[in-house]
């Protein structure tokens, strides 16, 4: 076993433990903390694939910012008093949705002819300059649309919050 494989199994194990913890933990804050573990471990997987930029973005956006906002919202709403909030009568539907998504993912991975798409045994590292060129030149419009979605969400949040205040 090469050392990359060793690291892979450690990191993949952490991802799975984190993901399981999100679902199994009784306390919502614990779930959020497990989510951080899972997301950071995924960054480790990206690193093993030599996708440095993606790994760092994963840590910065998901590990640092998004989950903090989730934690923030939960702490301000006193979740500690309702530990059973994670469970409900919709359990079978959630399990079905999760199973369906998992099977679609596995089918996609198994069914795709990776070699025809240009996949090789060797990882070819994409320099960050090339990534930037592709993102901001070839795919500039989808990129801008994504930020548009965020702005719509932001304005929506402000409208909702203001409406509750009665202004």
């Amino acid at each position: 076993m090469t050392y990359e494989e060793g690291i892979f199994y450690v990191v993949a194990g952490m991802t799975v433990i984190g993901a399981l913890g999100v679902v199994v933990a009784r306390n919502v804050v614990h779930s959020a903390l497990f989510l951080i573990l899972a997301l950071v471990a995924v960054a480790g997987l990206f690193l093993l694939l030599s996708a440095e930029f993606l790994a760092i973005v994963q840590v910065l956006i998901y590990g640092g910012a998004v989950t903090i906002l989730i934690l923030f919202a939960m702490m301000l709403t006193r979740v500690r008093d309702v530990p059973q909030a994670l469970d409900g009568p919709q359990r079978p539907f959630a399990a079905m949705a999760a199973a369906a998504f998992l099977s679609v993912t596995i089918l996609a991975v198994v069914g795709t002819d990776w070699e025809a798409l240009g996949a090789t045994e060797k990882i070819n590292v994409i320099p960050i300059e090339a990534l930037g060129d592709v993102l901001f030149r070839n795919w500039a419009v989808p990129f801008e649309l994504a930020s548009l979605v965020l702005i719509v969400a932001l304005i929506g949040a402000i409208v909702l919050a203001r409406g509750e205040e009665g202004e």
């Binding site: 804050v29 614990h30 760092i56 840590v59 903090i68 923030f72």
Partner: protein
Amino acid sequence: MIADNPWVDALLRLAVIAVLLPLTPIVLNYLERKIFGRIQMRLGPMRVGPHGTLQTIADTIKLLTKEDLRPSSADRWTFELAPYVVVVPVFLAFVTLPFTADLFVRNLSMGLFFIVAVSSMSIVGFVMAGWGSDNKYALLGGVRAAAQLISYEIPLILAVVAVAMIAHTGDGRGSLNLAEIVDGQGRVPYLVWQPLAFFLFAVAGLAEVYRQPFDIPVAESEVVGGPFVEYSGIRWSMFQLAEYGTTFLLSVLGALIFLGGWNWPLGNEAGAALQVVLIVLKTSAFLLFFIWMRAAMPRLRIDQMMSFCWQVLLPFAFLQIILNGLVLVYDWPDWTLGVLSGSATLLAAYLTYRGARQAAEPYSPRFTTVTYERVS
């Protein structure tokens, strides 16, 4: 490569950081108390050792041997893991920080980005500490810390991005590699070309290490120490280690990207010994700034802190990015950037001054003139 085996190599490199980083708070704490003493017209620690030099070592021993307490109602794992989540990112960030041209652990091609991303992880630790302690003050402090660190991270990152955008490299401009950024500065440090980014970096850096005037997350008189209320002994000292470690990290980073790192104005080829002297001097300047601000500034209110970030720092950060973009696209000479960024800095300083004046204005009850009539 220090060793052939990648595991041994990685372990050796980590050991260097793990040994050196715990020493920084011991030195920094002593310096801070001495400088504080001078500013407040007293001597600072004098009793333990010559000029009190052994004081912080004695304090460290005291802290490490103190009982490690945990409140019975605290959330066990969250409480106990929080200090690690705060400390580990600081260690990670030092992995890629070059001190001189040859003195670094590992030179990553995206080092600057790596440092910024990794150090953002420590916010999670503050929130964990605040929530896990099961203490109202700790929770308040944790929420304040999260709000402040997330907000001020944005201008900090944008200031750093502004530097990375126009960094001179061998084949054009723009680099995230810290060694390349330093080499690209040559005789003239980037402080001269982008004073605005420097200003943003310094102010947001102060907020990132929650020092005065941005110390509301840990303010003793408001939240009795914030997220650390319930911590004692070695766990508390880990938070201290993270604070001084981050201060040191930001100082070295600022010295590298704004003050020219191991270069100096008299020529590019400084020898190894001179490089060490230069980086120590430049880092010390930043450290002195951080300590001095703590002694000199009053504390901001939470609304003042927030509006300063979102209404002053953030727009000016975008302004610097836009200026740098114009320089890149139209190939303007560097001095135009210096002039534009400099005048924007003056504008930002004026706005800050005006805001501070308004905030500091004493409450003046409006007296109405009362006239009396003689009662006959």
